[in-house]
């Protein structure tokens, strides 16, 4: 069971409002408006695999319980299907709130509530950074090495290879300098953790780390 600590015990009132305000601004929505009807959670296809229901996450944000929200499994299990957003009678863009929480969790280097999902995203983006396009076989192998789930899905993978559904070699976009500039610009932002560039572009790794430190420092008032 989630342990909802009293909001009076977790930091000052302004800190709580800061978190709420930050999430609202990032998701361009108004989490305060949630009145706990539960429609988001009733319709969520993945609620069965979550630790906090979506409506509980809205409450955590209202209460300023940042740690609980950012370390939840919920934010990584959410598939961003937007069913909650489409149905919310208070017009809260709940799926975009989940995006904001995921971004904040990465920026603050919080131990993710579901590590495998994060390894997948990292592996995916490394492929995009390197080639401009995602190379499915490569990113699947990267994911497997990152999670050590080496034997899972070997049969499916073999069937897909046999059907020509997984290319051995990556396709590349020509404008990789532009793609690199996009990643660099993202890394320059507020403590963004957009993954490592890998050994082939080691130079790009350090600005990311520096931007991370600067961002963390910047968040403190």
């Amino acid at each position: 069971m989630p342990n909802l600590k009293s909001p009076l015990l977790v930091g000052g009132a302004s800190e709580r409002r800061d978190f709420l305000g930050q999430v609202d601004a990032m998701a361009a929505t108004t989490v305060e408006a949630c009145y706990q009807c539960g429609k988001c959670s009733g319709g969520c296809p993945l609620s069965f695999a979550m630790d906090y229901q979506p409506r509980q996450v809205m409450r955590l944000i209202q209460l300023g319980l940042a740690e609980e929200a950012l370390a939840s499994r919920t934010i990584w299990v959410c598939a961003t299907c937007f069913t909650c957003t489409a149905r919310c009678p208070r017009d809260i863009d709940i799926a975009s709130v989940m995006d904001a929480l995921r971004v904040l969790a990465r920026r603050r280097r919080i131990q993710p509530g579901d590590g495998n999902v994060v390894v997948f995203h990292r592996s995916f983006l490394n492929s995009v950074r390197r080639y401009g396009r995602s190379h499915e076989l490569g990113l699947l192998l990267g994911y497997k090495l990152g999670t050590l789930r080496l034997t899972e899905d070997l049969v499916l993978g073999a069937r897909m290879l046999a059907k020509g559904k997984l290319s051995i070699l990556p396709e590349t976009a020509k404008g990789r300098a532009e793609i690199a500039a996009i990643f660099a610009e993202a890394a320059r932002g507020e403590g963004a953790d957009v993954g490592s560039a890998g050994p082939r572009a080691a130079g790009a790794g350090s600005p990311t780390a520096e931007a991370g430190k600067a961002g963390e420092a910047g968040e403190r008032p």
Partner: protein, 294 residues
């Protein structure tokens, strides 16, 4: 007839060049048959899919924005068959209008211009464009008579409704109508817009097996003999996880998962190989033979 050729910028996205090559083949084949020219965006890149927007807002915006900008340079509406690419392009288009600061950062980083005004069409909108729809309706040489199909839309064609502005988020009908035009029997299917789990198909397999089981079970109960989709992730999850989903339910679904463009192409009289029909994992040809369509 002096009307000029109908031309569109075409954004296949990464899946259509790998796991969903049959979607690419069949989209191009149907476009050709309908007299529309699809011109591939010369240096398109990945839209960032499920991963960029959960990592950094600028990255989630700028990756699809680069493809939008190229479409704007071409001066043509963009057609993108992948529902996830469509969702990301539409979201970036919306953000470009709302957040000039994001546009400034994008333009400074890439040296490109972006207005966010280019039209982006998903595959159902493309097939519903007046002249394309008219051509298709006039060329149904091999109606899919007696084939019972569940139209599965998934999430990102219809949601979030304020971004996609397409059909209805709970009960869309565009694909139903297209299947009816192709002569198929559309079953009443309550799981049209339930989520398949998308990229969790890699990282949380057991969750996607459950979601796929729910959707396939609903289709089978509705009397469907096949499922029609308009998204490579939906296809991969419903097709690739079908064996595991059936085992979980102690059932045998045997439901081929066709791309809508493959079914429309068949109705137009195109051949199975042109439409990449041998490429799915769950057998797609048996049903066609039983229905005397191949």
């Amino acid at each position: 007839m002096t009307a000029e050729t109908l031309r569109f910028a075409y954004y296949p996205g990464c899946s259509l060049h790998s796991t969903a090559r049959e979607y690419d083949l069949s989209t191009r084949a149907v476009a050709r048959a309908a007299g529309a020219e699809l011109i591939e965006i010369p240096d398109w890149n990945c839209c960032g899919a499920s991963s960029a927007h959960v990592t950094d807002p600028f990255l989630g915006f700028a990756l699809p924005a680069r493809t939008l900008a190229q479409g704007e340079e071409m001066g043509l509406d963009i057609v993108t068959p992948c529902a996830a690419c469509y969702g990301r392009l539409m979201a970036a288009r919306e953000e470009a209008r709302r957040h000039p600061d994001l546009v400034r950062r994008f333009e400074a980083a890439t040296g490109r211009k972006l207005t966010g005004r280019v039209r982006v069409l998903n595959v159902l909108e493309f097939l519903g464009e007046p002249r394309v729809a008219e051509a298709i309706a006039g060329k149904v040489h091999r109606p899919l008579t007696g084939m019972k199909v569940a139209p599965y839309y998934g999430c990102l064609l219809v949601r979030p409704p304020k971004v996609t502005h397409f059909d209805n988020p709970e009960r869309p009908v565009t694909m139903d109508r297209l299947l009816a035009t192709a002569g198929a029997e559309v079953v009443d299917f309550p799981f049209k817009t339930e989520c398949c789990g998308a990229s969790l198909g890699v990282s949380r397999v057991e969750l996607v097996v459950e979601l796929a089981a729910r959707i396939l079970e609903a289709a089978a109960r509705a009397g469907a003999e096949a499922v029609a989709v308009a998204c490579p992730l939906c296809q991969t999850n419903l097709d690739g996880r079908q064996t595991a989903a059936a085992a979980k339910r102690h059932a045998r679904f045997g439901l081929p998962v066709y791309y809508i463009t493959q079914l429309v192409g068949l109705a137009l009289g195109l051949g199975p190989s042109e439409l990449g029909l041998g490429r799915q994992l769950t057998d797609t040809m048996g049903l066609l033979r039983r229905k005397k369509l191949a």
